[in-house]
């Protein structure tokens, strides 16, 4: 359906997401909701009405095939050959049943073959009944067909429908026969012009065996060309009725039960094809919609307001301090040009002891100008923020230089430090993008 163009399904997706919890359930729910919106369900209901009407029409057809010929034969009012009545009643339906059984065998071994039966005819007839056609009827039909084919259900579903129709038709035939035999006098004989008497004997023997076993009265002998007698006709009539029941109705009922059983069994296993590209796409979309609730929300972090720089005591000379902070082991030391401009150099890797020692040293001689060197590849964090804040409290001014250990390295992101600094409370810290900037900063602060 979506081949023609994607449907706007955002709200249906959301509803299905909340109502169902399994993949299959969600996708079916989405289909149901979309079907309701697009009027597919109304169409489906119309199609069902159509199916009933078509069923009725086909029932009449089946009845005519089975019973019509018989009533014509019987209705002539003259003497009637019992064997002829038998063939007229059972011939076409038996042939149809035989064809169906053959088809069923063939299609059990190949995917391609599909028997045409009354059931299939009914479905296509239902879709064509004027006045009941909705805009999506054909799509629905195609979908139903494809589904039945995919699941190899077609044979059994259509078979069940067709057997049900035939069985009903035979029921009607039986009733008709009963009525006719009850209230009309027929003269049933074994008349023939060219056939041998033994032929009828054999015929009666074979067809009468099963009814006889089940206790139905069967004519004891075949009296060819005998004048029609009331007793003889009665026996033949009972034999005909038994035949209609046993050879017409019974096989159909058995076949119907088999089809229904298979249908029930298969449809309980009916699931969506989870390997279908469309299915997988929907699954992925549902997965992406899974809610991600915030369980511990972000609060405005109460920032410890920096006390600001410590003013230089009067008479104190300008001193510069170089602090290498959290630099990796490979770090050989600050660039020589910067070292030359610094009065003191501290290299700390960041442990608490080192930090406290450094702060102690700075506090002992307050009012220095500090240049902090950090790794450009490292990610700025609040540990660094706390450290810088503490440095600021002990110094007169402070600058930060993210140092690239390996200039070619793509992991170096000095700009990340600049952005972070601008976003933090440490706006008073000067950012030096290059060692050149840092040298300039040191020179100005040395005065």
């Amino acid at each position: 359906m979506e081949e023609v163009g994607a449907l706007d399904d955002a709200s249906e997706m959301a509803q299905a997401q909340s109502r169902q919890h399994s993949e299959q359930g969600r996708i079916l729910e989405r289909a149901r909701l979309l079907a309701r919106r697009l009027g597919l369900q109304a169409d489906w209901e119309r199609l069902q009405t159509g199916l009933w009407i078509a069923g009725g029409l086909l029932l009449v057809l089946a009845y005519l095939l089975a019973g019509g010929l018989l009533t014509r034969v019987l209705g002539s009012g003259q003497t009637v050959n019992a064997a002829f009545a038998f063939v007229a009643m059972l011939g076409v339906p038996s042939l149809a049943l035989l064809v169906w059984v053959l088809w069923a065998f063939v299609s059990a071994f190949s995917r391609e073959a599909q028997p045409w039966s009354l059931g299939q005819g009914m479905l296509s007839l239902a879709a064509r009944i004027p006045g009941l056609r909705g805009p999506h009827t054909l799509t629905l039909m195609r979908g139903a067909h494809a589904m039945l084919r995919e699941q190899r259900l077609g044979l059994w579903v259509f078979g069940a429908i067709s057997h049900a129709l035939w069985a009903l038709a035979f029921g009607l035939v039986l009733v008709t026969l009963l009525l006719l035999f009850s209230f009309q006098a027929f003269q049933l004989t074994w008349e023939t012009t060219i056939l041998d008497a033994r032929f009828f004997e054999r015929f009666l023997q074979i067809t009468g065996w099963l009814p006889g076993q089940l206790g139905f009265p069967v004519p004891s002998q075949v009296l060819v060309h005998a004048p029609p007698s009331a007793a003889g006709s009665q026996a033949i009539a009972w034999w005909l009725l038994a035949s209609a029941l046993l050879y017409g109705l019974l096989p159909r009922v058995v076949a119907l039960l088999v089809c229904l059983a298979v249908w029930r069994q298969r449809s309980s296993r009916l699931t969506l094809d989870t390997r279908d590209p469309y299915f997988r796409r929907l699954v992925a979309r549902f997965a992406a919609m899974a809610p991600a609730p915030v369980v511990d929300a972000e609060h405005a972090v109460p920032r410890a307001a920096g006390k600001g720089f410590r003013a230089r005591a009067p008479g104190q000379g300008a001193r510069t301090v170089l602090i290498a902070f959290e630099l990796p082991d490979e770090f050989a030391g600050p660039p020589a040009e910067l070292l030359a401009l610094a009065d003191h150099t501290h290299t700390i890797r960041g442990s608490m002891t080192e930090r406290l020692a450094l702060l102690g040293a700075l506090a002992a001689e307050p009012g220095a100008d500090a240049l902090v060197l950090c790794s450009a590849a490292a990610s700025p964090d609040r540990g660094a923020e706390r450290f810088l804040r503490q440095i600021c409290e002990q110094t007169a001014s402070c600058a930060l230089l993210p140092l690239a250990l390996d200039a070619a390295d793509t992991d170096n992101k000095p700009q990340r430090w600049a952005d972070w600094l601008a976003a933090s409370e440490l706006t008073t810290v000067t950012f030096c993008a290059t060692p050149e900037d840092a040298r300039h900063w040191l020179e100005t602060h040395r005065g």
Binding site: E3, V4, A284, A287, V301, E330
Partner: protein, 477 residues
């Protein structure tokens, strides 16, 4: 087992780590939700704790908690040490959480610790490009204080600056011996499996549940693979079925002919683009996903390759002898038509060949066209091969969730490769489609779902599925 899982609460796993270590990226990979959380190359992108559930059959089995980074671990550890020594480590953490600093300077860290204490286990994500510093040691120690099983995940191990050895040593020094290797940029095949297996070693009591998760993940992977093979098969059939009649006067006018050819190519490109989109969607990727090297597909670079005369000539040569290759080479001489076959004669030949195997349905149309001088444009086999290779490659990349092997097509279908053989075998079923123009799936029109079309699609999909194994895999370091 299902009952046991049903009666259990989901396993809660806190995902922790230093800021910017790739916690959210890892979760995106694990849950296949390309849009989960916010990922940015900026410290502290995640500031709140977000839960994300892993469902199997509608049942939540695992719940992940994405936490903010542990940024100030040095001070935090120092603070924890200040607390009364009579307390056990987890009690100290609780004392800290109850104290004023949990809402003050350690607000962010408190969130992480709170989740750690509430969780069954933690996944500790490490950016192993970072040098090991005191702050990291503090981090490990603080996490250990919570006394929860911890599964370290070493992220970015494929980076040139990876310090995997250094980190492993440090972790082992803190009693964390197992570690899962991961790379958000170039994930490993099977890293996910290993993660769940290691987690079930860490949490023996949840072994069955984790096993269920693993089985479900595998089922889904198999299904996704089959589905993408099916999608590719349908696209290839549609491409092979493409057939456009070109009137004699259009053919005579060079400009009209060029426009016609361009339209034809554009239609193919549109159809392939939809396939690329669908395959990405099936695997839970957004087309602009940064963790995946799908740019060659999403940027339509493949489209220009598809009709590049040089590439086509290479492919044509590699396809070897045979009528199909002969036709391809013959027609690529006309550069304007590179990759396309034109001509009633070829088409008629193909139709007769096709008619012999598939019935005479196409022959009358061919005959009519022949008489009226109408010619037909179809795609060359070399284009189909290129297209198949391209899409198979895409499927592999999205399945490995990693980078593509940067081999050229010439290398991939080198004369000795089994991949080439498998690729060529796709052509045979595709020839069937050539005789059925109605099998082309055009946008805005319902597709053809005849039994034969479906059967061919399934058969081809199986071949492509097998091809996904035959093709050269992305490199595994």
């Amino acid at each position: 087992m299902a009952d046991a899982a049903k009666s259990q609460d989901p396993i809660d796993i806190a995902v922790v780590g230093h800021t910017n270590a790739g916690k959210t990226s890892l979760l995106r990979t694990l849950t296949r939700q390309a849009r989960f959380g916010e990922v940015a190359d900026r410290p502290g992108t995640t500031r709140h704790v977000q839960a994300i559930e892993l469902e199997v059959d509608g049942q939540t089995l695992v719940r992940y908690f994405d936490t903010p980074g542990l940024e100030d671990s040095v001070a935090l550890q120092y603070h924890l040490k200040q607390l009364p020594e009579t307390l056990t480590p987890p009690q100290r953490v609780r004392a800290l959480l109850d104290g004023p600093e949990a809402r003050g300077v350690f607000e962010q860290e408190a969130k992480v610790l709170r989740q750690m204490l509430a969780a069954d286990a933690a996944i500790y994500v490490i950016d192993c490009r970072e040098p090991l510093l005191p702050k990291h040691r503090s981090e490990i120690e603080v996490l250990n204080t919570c006394a929860r099983p911890i599964m370290p995940v070493l992220n970015f191990v494929r980076s040139a600056n990876s310090r995997e050895g250094e980190w492993r040593e440090a972790l082992a020094g803190h009693g964390l011996h197992a570690a899962v290797l991961f790379d958000a940029v170039a994930p490993f095949v099977g890293a996910e499996r290993q993660l769940y297996e290691d987690l079930s070693v860490l949490m023996r009591q949840h072994k069955t549940t984790l096993q269920t998760v693993l089985l479900d993940l595998e089922r889904q992977a198999v299904e996704r693979r089959a589905a993408s093979a099916q999608r590719v098969a349908d696209t290839l059939i549609s491409a092979a079925a493409m057939r456009r009649e070109i009137a004699p006067d259009t053919l005579a006018d060079a400009r009209a002919k060029a426009a016609f050819v361009q339209t034809f190519r554009d239609e193919l490109v549109t159809s392939v683009r939809r396939c690329v989109h669908d395959v990405l969607q099936m695997h839970g990727f957004a087309p602009d996903d940064a963790t995946l090297d799908v740019a060659p597909w999403t940027s339509d670079r493949w489209a220009s390759d598809l009709f590049n005369p040089e590439t086509l000539a290479t492919v044509g040569r590699l396809l070897g002898k045979g009528a199909a290759a002969g036709a391809a080479v013959g027609f690529t001489l006309d550069l304007a038509l590179a990759g396309l076959s034109l001509g009633a004669a070829t088409a008629l030949g193909a139709a007769i060949g096709g008619a012999l195997s598939q019935g005479w349905g196409q022959a009358p149309r061919m005959l009519r066209n022949k008489l009226m001088g109408v010619e037909e444009l179809t795609l060359d086999n070399s284009v189909l091969v290129l297209l198949a290779d391209n899409l198979v490659h895409l499927c592999q990349v999205v399945q490995a969730r990693g980078h593509a092997a940067q081999d050229t097509i010439a290398l991939r279908i080198a004369p000795s490769s089994s991949y080439r053989q498998a690729l060529l075998e796709l052509l045979e079923p595709l020839q069937q489609a050539r005789a059925h123009p109605q099998w082309e799936q055009r946008p805005g029109q319902p597709g053809d779902h005849s039994r034969r079309r479906e059967a061919l699609g399934h058969a081809l999909a199986q071949k492509i599925n097998a091809l996904l194994d035959a093709a050269p895999h992305p490199p595994v370091v």
